[in-house]
């Protein structure tokens, strides 16, 4: 099946980002397709490449970028990003900033849409 993922919270502050990531890995392992990950609200903070993480902890933005490199679409809401200081200049590789219409597309083309948030 095709799964769309909506993430509404920033990394580290809430577990939403971790749960979404674990859910996506399990979905791919079972042969499902991830039609896209949409970052909304504070979720956009997942996609800054400026994170500087202690060596003993996971690097959440790098993890997303690596997933993008494997072909998973990473879409960052432009309006939410602007409010929170996320722009093209600080964006991780393999993600793109785009409009809310992309979330609508994701809802239309995915068999399931799963939301992770606070």
């Amino acid at each position: 099946m095709k799964f769309g993922i909506l993430i509404q919270e920033g990394p580290y502050n809430h577990q939403a980002s971790d749960s979404a990531y674990n859910f996506i890995l399990a979905s791919l392992a079972k042969g499902h397709e991830i039609s896209g990950v949409f970052f909304y609200n504070d979720g956009v903070i997942n996609t800054t490449k400026l994170m500087d993480i202690p060596a003993d902890d996971r690097n959440i933005s790098k993890r997303w970028s690596d997933l993008g490199a494997k072909g998973v679409q990473l879409i960052v809401c432009v309006a939410a990003a602007k409010r929170r200081g996320i722009s093209q200049n600080v964006l991780i590789e393999n993600a793109r900033i785009d409009g809310l219409g992309q979330l609508s597309e994701l809802c239309i083309e995915s068999d399931r849409l799963v939301t992770f948030g606070d």
């Binding site: 509404q8 577990q15 939403a16 749960s19 859910f23 399931r112 939301t115 948030g117």
Partner: protein, 97 residues
């Protein structure tokens, strides 16, 4: 419909809302701090046992372990992420944020 609850039922009323609206036989997936609802002998024990009469209730194993919840209410099913994915295959999910 699959009901996903990610908040501690001791601090938030999300689980109460979920149980009020959930249709009989709709499964309930406890994730993140939501797995604290699986603790036995709490003030919510009766509510959970009542819920188990009409719903399958699942709790993410990794979340239970992270929180040291090693004993859980009888009837609640421990579920890994793969089992969570299977539930999403079968049901339209809604997260009670």
């Amino acid at each position: 419909m699959l009901h996903i609850v990610n908040k501690s039922p001791f601090k938030f009323r999300n689980l109460d809302s979920c149980l009020r609206i959930a249709k009989d036989d709709d499964p309930i997936m406890l994730i993140e701090d939501g797995v604290y609802a699986a603790l036995p002998g709490t003030t919510l024990d009766r509510m959970m046992k009542e819920a188990l009469k009409t719903h399958s209730v699942f709790a993410i194993q990794a979340d239970l372990k992270a929180r040291g919840v090693d004993r859980i209410i009888e009837g609640i099913q421990v579920c890994d992420y793969s089992c969570f994915v299977t539930l999403v295959e079968k049901h339209v999910p809604y997260s009670w944020l």
